[in-house]
Symmetry: C2
Subunit: 127 residues, 2 copies
């Protein structure tokens, strides 16, 4: 049996771990998924609409999160020269590729809840 070896530094493992780290750094924080989810649903939203749509977020947070997402090319910010000046946010093509991740996460969350309910009846490890 090996002893000092182990360490997953083998082949694609490092790449994989890095890729996961990358993704999670980009999507970090309490609000990113919610903002992206809203933009997936509504296509285009203005700042004030997002502020109302993303339940509980404040202007400062929203502003910061939108900047983050824009820097990472996931959303596009367009200033419209309307009367009182409005700004439109929408997903880029790149941003839209997050669909499958968000689907998986939502799917898992729903299944997980159901699993817990059933498990709690029959015990399991439950503390």
């Amino acid at each position: 049996m090996k002893k000092e070896a182990l360490s997953s530094s083998s082949s694609g493992c490092k790449t994989r771990i890095l890729a996961i780290k990358d993704t999670m750094e980009i999507l970090t924080g309490k609000w990113k998924f919610h903002i992206i989810g809203s933009l997936m649903l509504f296509e285009k939203l203005r700042f004030m609409e997002l502020l109302r749509e993303v339940d509980g977020i404040g202007a400062k947070m929203l502003s910061k999160e939108l900047q983050d997402l824009e820097m990472n090319h996931l959303i596009r910010r367009t200033v419209l020269n309307t009367k009182p000046l409005t700004v439109e946010y929408e997903l880029t093509d790149c941003g839209r590729t997050l669909g499958p991740i968000i689907d998986e996460i939502a799917k898992w969350g729903i299944t997980y809840r159901n699993t817990l309910y059933h498990k709690s009846e029959t015990s399991e490890s439950l503390v």
Copy 2:
């Protein structure tokens, strides 16, 4: 055109958003994905093995993260009555269902990197 309405409180939207919140709360922090990923790769790992495997983590963090994961039924902790006493960690069935999420996230991270490289050549929005 609607004005005050909007608000995605429609049908399954709330459920979906809650499910995403649930999932992300369970998998929050810098280390959970890395720990789960390691356990997917190695099946069973002891505390010290995880400490070496999960690059950069400290004993306190590892201990806390393992407790979190165990509370959420994603991993199982087994004390073996070996000579100096060892503890074995492994994924539960529930923990193993995270596979697809982690795959999607890893896949996206890799694609995202490639996309950036190509976009940076042809410009895009790039700051």
